[in-house]
């Protein structure tokens, strides 16, 4: 009972002073967060800032420390070292005040049994001094028709929407979403991406975790790539790709596959054959494509050409040598 930090505890820990450079629009400033479970270091000296109005993502494989990081920022777990200033206050010292102003969606949340959607919203609304009307939230998340339905009868997508509605019941400035689309079918996932983008459009800051690179690319303004409790890269998604997976691969079929000739094209870094298809790797796709389509060029009859950009998956492989999702 004594181990969790829900009340504003007065453990003596130096509060972080905001650096003078930290502008008013810094919503989260994490400084040297550490969390250990026995001998395992789940979060290893993590520092980053999140600005107002952005969707900030934590991308990494399962067990990378994403959830633990979020839970420390939410005031659910006390860091073993470090602190974070969330909405201007130390999360170690003022967890309860911060909880009043943030919205939280936990991974795989369940709700009490035999509770309707409207009752669940009312229940969580009663926990805050300031709350949004139930009807408004039902409308915003497309749950009006399900208001009287028991929560256990909802589909996965509806349940996730309810779970996000509950995170917004106190009209928070900052919303934490822990793997909001895990386990959803593609349709429900697209729907939820819209929901999350609308939250940003309302001027709120969102911090989310995911291990889906498409999700991170589509939603996140900035992204911290996390592996084994450490941030290994932090930038906008295009920035990460430019820095760590700048290459483009050009794939096509041709009647006269001559690898030696193709490899000799100026700008081609490598060439390979995959079945009927040729794959060329390059960082100068314009130059290579111009040469390929030259009628006097080395591959006169090109069919079914595809150009593939580097992805966050490639970024992760470059940085760690492993795939994001095994």
């Amino acid at each position: 009972m004594e181990s969790h930090p829900s009340a504003d505890d007065t453990r003596r820990r130096p509060a972080i002073r905001l650096a003078p450079s930290a502008a008013e629009d810094t919503v989260i400033e994490a400084r040297g967060l550490v969390k250990r479970y026995g001998s395992l270091i789940a979060v290893d000296d993590l520092s980053f800032t999140v600005s107002a109005g952005e969707i900030f993502g934590l991308l990494g494989p399962n067990g990378a420390g994403k959830t633990t990081t979020l839970e420390m920022l939410e005031g659910l777990r006390t860091p073993d070292a470090g602190d974070a200033v969330v909405l201007g206050q130390s999360v170690v010292r003022y967890a309860r005040r911060i909880k009043e102003r943030i919205g939280v969606q936990l991974q795989a949340t369940a709700l009490p049994d035999k509770t309707t959607v409207a009752e669940a919203i009312d229940l969580f609304g009663a926990f805050y001094t300031h709350r949004r009307p139930t009807g408004e939230l039902l409308t915003q998340f497309g749950l009006t028709e399900k208001a009287e339905a028991m929560t256990e009868s909802l589909s996965g997508g509806q349940m996730q929407r309810l779970s996000i509605a509950l995170a917004l019941v106190n009209d928070p400035d900052l919303v934490f979403l822990d793997e909001p689309t895990t386990g959803l079918d593609p349709q429900a996932r697209l729907n939820l991406w819209d929901v999350i983008e609308r939250i940003r459009a309302q001027g709120k800051t969102v911090i989310l975790t995911t291990h889906y690179m498409e999700e991170a690319e589509r939603l996140c303004d900035r992204l911290a790539v996390i592996d084994q409790g450490r941030i290994i890269a932090l930038d906008t998604p295009p920035g990460l790709i430019t820095a760590h997976a700048p290459g483009v691969s050009i794939e096509f079929e041709t009647t006269t596959p001559d690898l030696v000739v193709l490899q000799a094209i100026l700008g081609v870094d490598g060439a390979e054959v995959n079945g009927d298809r040729i794959i060329l790797h390059t960082t100068a796709p314009e130059r290579v494509l111009a040469r390929l389509f030259d009628p006097t060029g080395p591959a006169p009859s090109i069919r079914d050409l595809r150009v593939r950009q580097g992805t966050l998956e490639d970024v992760f492989i470059t940085l760690t040598g492993r795939r994001l999702r095994p």
Binding site: M1, R96, V104, T109, A110, P112, D113, L123, F124
Partner: protein
């Protein structure tokens, strides 16, 4: 405070909607009352009764022979003073007096002046006494019919020693209240709270501004309220539907019931500190609840338990709840008769609750 009340309300509403669980919790005690209220007949264990023969006639000798021949009755004959003394010391559960003039009255076949057999029973063992009384009544009635034609010329006057007349059903209503408090009290917290923790609902509550006290307090109070509602349903069914007679003071009875709920809810809370899954919580709750049920005089009369178990009997909190409820509802006694019961239950509640708050983990 708002958040706390919202949790209490939500817990009560949720448990009210758990129709299946409610049905099965209430089914057994109601079924039990139905059996003892309507269908009961016969007796299982040998019951010791004392017979005082003041008639010293052939008729009384025949009646005594019949009583002795009855299976399940262990009859001894003695003087009234001796037998009543044995009754006081719980050596017999019932004393039947065959008065002077019994033979004449039987022979006279007079309707106006029937032969009267008086029985004294033991208020400490009302259910055993009721069983013995029922057996003696049947034998005496049968004897009278045989001796005198069709009409019974013998009237049995049942008389309790220092107590009110309590039927078997009346006796079982307090027992069943104790049963519900035990089962619902232990299970609702142990299983309910562990289930919420397992499914991370408690963790979700912790992510709100609510304090740990508000969350746990709301859960425990809400579940205690749902036990109170179940007790009310049981009492209404027992009193209105089965017409159980209640002699005592309801306010005092509720004092004992609330103390019992505090006690068993605390035991349920303590279980949450020793288990991770709601399945194992269910197992532990049953492992604690069922033996207690049988060792606390709720189903099996205490006087019929082997003496080796008597120590256990006097440690278990259910014994005290059951005892208090019988004193109040059957014997119409006051606070003085139950205060030790209340103190023992309070002790159990405080000890378990304190230990539970130390053992409790949020995940």
């Amino acid at each position: 405070m708002n958040g706390f009340l919202a949790i209490v309300r939500s817990v009560v509403r949720t448990s009210r909607r758990e129709r299946t669980a409610l049905f099965f919790t209430l089914l057994l005690p109601i079924f039990f009352m139905a059996i003892f209220g309507f269908i009961f007949s016969g007796s299982a264990p040998a019951l010791k009764i004392g017979v005082v023969d003041q008639s010293h006639s052939r008729a009384s000798a025949r009646l005594i022979t019949l009583l002795k021949a009855q299976k399940g009755l262990d009859v001894e004959v003695g003087t009234q003073a001796h037998e009543l003394d044995r009754l006081k010391h719980d050596n017999v559960v019932l004393v039947t007096v065959i008065p002077t003039g019994f033979a004449t009255a039987v022979r006279a076949r007079s309707v106006r002046r029937p032969a009267v057999v008086t029985s004294y029973d033991d208020r400490n063992q009302p259910q055993s006494a009721a069983l013995a009384q029922s057996a003696v009544s049947q034998i005496v009635t049968a004897f009278a019919q045989r001796a005198s034609g069709q009409r019974p010329r013998v009237v049995i006057r049942a008389q309790s020693v220092n107590t009110n007349n309590v039927t078997t059903l009346d006796f079982y209503l307090p027992s069943m209240i104790a049963y519900i408090v035990l089962i619902a009290g232990i299970q609702t917290v142990a299983i309910g709270l562990v289930d919420l923790r397992e499914r991370k609902v408690l963790r979700r509550f912790l992510a709100t501004p609510l304090s740990a006290m508000q969350i746990l307090g709301g859960q425990i109070v809400g579940r205690a309220v749902s036990v109170i509602l179940q007790v009310i349903v049981l009492i209404v069914v027992g009193v209105v539907f089965f017409r159980a007679h209640v002699n005592g003071n309801w306010a005092l009875a509720w004092l004992a019931i609330l103390m019992g709920i505090a006690c068993f809810v605390s035991i349920g809370f303590l279980i949450t500190g020793f288990t991770r899954t709601s399945e194992s919580a269910r197992g532990i709750a049953s492992a604690i609840g069922f033996p207690m049920m049988f060792l606390s005089g709720v189903f099996i009369p205490l006087d019929q338990l082997p003496s080796a178990l008597q120590t256990a009997v006097h440690v278990l909190p259910l014994t005290y709840l059951s005892d208090a409820l019988h004193h109040i509802l059957n014997d119409n006694e006051g606070l003085s008769a139950i205060w030790t019961d209340l103190v023992v239950m309070l002790g159990w509640a405080l000890a378990c609750f304190t230990l539970a708050t130390r053992r409790f983990r949020w995940e």
